[in-house]
């Protein structure tokens, strides 16, 4: 392990300068965005709008945490939206009582983990590109979901999910608390644990990782499993937010989560960035979407902005790296 600490020590200054830069730039950008939106439209800063935005950050944020692991490992997970929708469909697949919550959670997270295992296996053992592997599992899962629901899911979400997904405690949404807990747990794992260090080294340079005796394949597979499991949890939270479940709950989250992560400084070339940056990216995205609606601009503009932001953010970080 001496080698590992040396390696991370050598990378230290570069990473800390970059992270210092992004850790200041992102909050400043977010605050400026909120201030400008508040000036343009006073309704933006109303209590109801702010708590509405907070409610929307959590499902995206939870997905971004998982996406962060995968992207730092030089991958990318497109199957998250399909996992989310499948989890949501499962949430309504029981009697809709609180007594089902544990079984729903187990089944949903189980499917998320299984999807992550397949993704990780394809990427590591079969050398399939992450994009194609996760796209294929997304499609397969979607097919199974449609076949299972016969096109029209029905049934109710248990009240507990409704509460976690859409209720607040003294103005703080429950799902926000869940996000904070998950972010702290996985943030510590990524930043402080041995596994986290292995994630950065494997993502930074898989060959180096192997030479250091790190089981790069195992680390990568675990990364995809984390992403799948968190996507399942996010799907359950989102089902509680929207209340009505259809086959497309979470549609667009695959792109949103990647955009948020890239905007937050998690480089698609791997080995860089952290969970906090990704969460700031998610918050910025939610604020921008909200502002688009509040300013009375056409909702389609959200999609266009998303598309431009991902390219520009990627270009921004690429330029800085070179």
């Amino acid at each position: 392990m001496v080698d590992v600490s040396q390696a991370s020590g050598a990378e230290g200054p570069a990473i800390s300068m970059k992270s210092r830069l992004s850790s200041y730039a992102l909050p400043i950008f977010l605050i400026a965005l909120i201030a400008i939106s508040g000036i343009v439209s006073p309704a933006f800063l109303s209590t109801s709008n702010i708590s509405n935005m907070l409610l929307q950050v959590a499902p995206l944020g939870i997905v971004v945490i998982g996406q962060a692991f995968v992207i730092i490992l030089r991958g990318l997970d497109l199957s998250v939206s399909s996992v989310m929708a499948t989890a949501a469909v499962i949430a309504t697949g029981f009697s809709g009582q609180n007594s089902d919550v544990l079984s729903i959670l187990l089944v949903a997270v189980g499917i998320g983990i299984a999807t992550g295992l397949v993704n990780g296996w394809l990427v590591t053992k079969r050398s399939v590109s992450p994009f194609l592997a996760t796209l294929a599992t997304m499609i397969v899962l979607q097919g199974f979901r449609f076949a299972y629901t016969q096109g029209a899911p029905s049934g109710n979400v248990p009240p507990l999910f409704r509460q976690i997904g859409s209720a607040t405690w003294h103005g703080v949404p429950y799902n926000m608390m869940l996000l904070v807990v998950l972010a702290v747990v996985f943030g510590v794992v990524l930043a402080k644990s041995r596994f986290g260090r292995e994630v950065y080294i494997t993502g930074g340079n898989p060959t180096t990782a192997r030479l250091l005796g790190i089981n790069a394949d195992r680390v990568t597979i675990i990364g995809y499993v984390i992403s799948g499991a968190l996507a399942a949890i996010a799907g359950l939270v989102l089902s509680g937010y929207v209340g009505i479940v259809d086959n497309w709950v979470g549609r667009g989250f695959e792109l949103d989560s990647i955009v948020a992560a890239v905007m937050g400084g998690i480089s698609l070339s791997g080995g860089q960035g952290g969970i906090l940056g990704g969460l700031f990216g998610a918050a910025i995205l939610v604020v921008v979407f909200n502002a688009v609606l509040l300013f009375g601009l056409p909702v389609q503009l959200q999609i266009i902005i998303k598309g431009m932001v991902i390219v520009l953010a990627a270009a921004f970080y690429v330029r800085r790296r070179i």
Binding site: L132, A136, G143, I304, G307, V311, A314
Partner: protein, 320 residues
Amino acid sequence: MTALAPIRLSSRLRANQGVLVVAALLVILLIFGAFISDRFRTTSNILNIFEQSTGLALVSLGQTLAILTGGIDLSVGSMISLLSTLTSGLIAGKASMVLPVAIGILLLGLLIGICNGLLIIWLRVHPLIVTLGMSAVLQGIVLLYSLGPAGSVPPGFNFLAYGKVLGLPIGAVFILVLFLLVALFLRYARLGRYIYAVGDDEVGARLMGLPRARVMLTVYGFSGFCCGLAAIYLTSRFSVGQPYTGLNYTLASITPVVVGGTLLSGGKGGVFGTLLGVYLISLLNNVLNFMDVSTHYQLIAQGLIVIAAVSVYVEKKKRV
């Protein structure tokens, strides 16, 4: 050109491997289909398969070139949606508008593709991200233009999709000619060889001074142009364009390429394998239809085929 000779030999070998496997599967499916249904064997059903495959073949052709350079074009789905909606929206039922709009759509497709290429060159961002972003932008634009089916086309417009020359579907004949031309271009034109060279070893290609920018512009421009062709064809077939016409074509266009033996890492493969891949997918869907398998399971089948194909070809690459 001597420096390019080894690439050419190995790529031909690779393409042939894929072609053989897919050709064998095609024959098996044909025999299987003939057993399960009498109607499968009719000429009209075979022509039907060719008709259904034309749109997919057009998009996959452009996609093949993008993948050969080691890139990918994820904007094809949204591009088809946009161009197809614009086709019927701008023609708006007037026969006099057909030709100008068709030319305009092809140029617009070319232009969007060139934009992809320019962004890839200038921003130095992976094509995956550039075209993913472009895809979102185009989807937003088409939804700004129309939220549902737009405009209409004059009655004769469906000639492109259902018309026949010498008893053969016009689209299928066009496809064969176009694929042949592109195959010849890839094999004999200097720029065609550069496409393989850039995909095979980007750094090496740059050190040799090959014009990467021109390759990228050609490849993504051509992919956009193919989307224009596909959009016009699909509008002719469905007689109207709507903002989600192309939704499934992004994955669908990649499937035949990888099934046909073109490696996603670039530099290996060819359009002939892609054409067989297109026919294989169309034939499979046709057979599944005759077996009364629901479209949900057809979706699953498609995902599994992709996984199987990429796994198989990767293993071959490792062994060689």
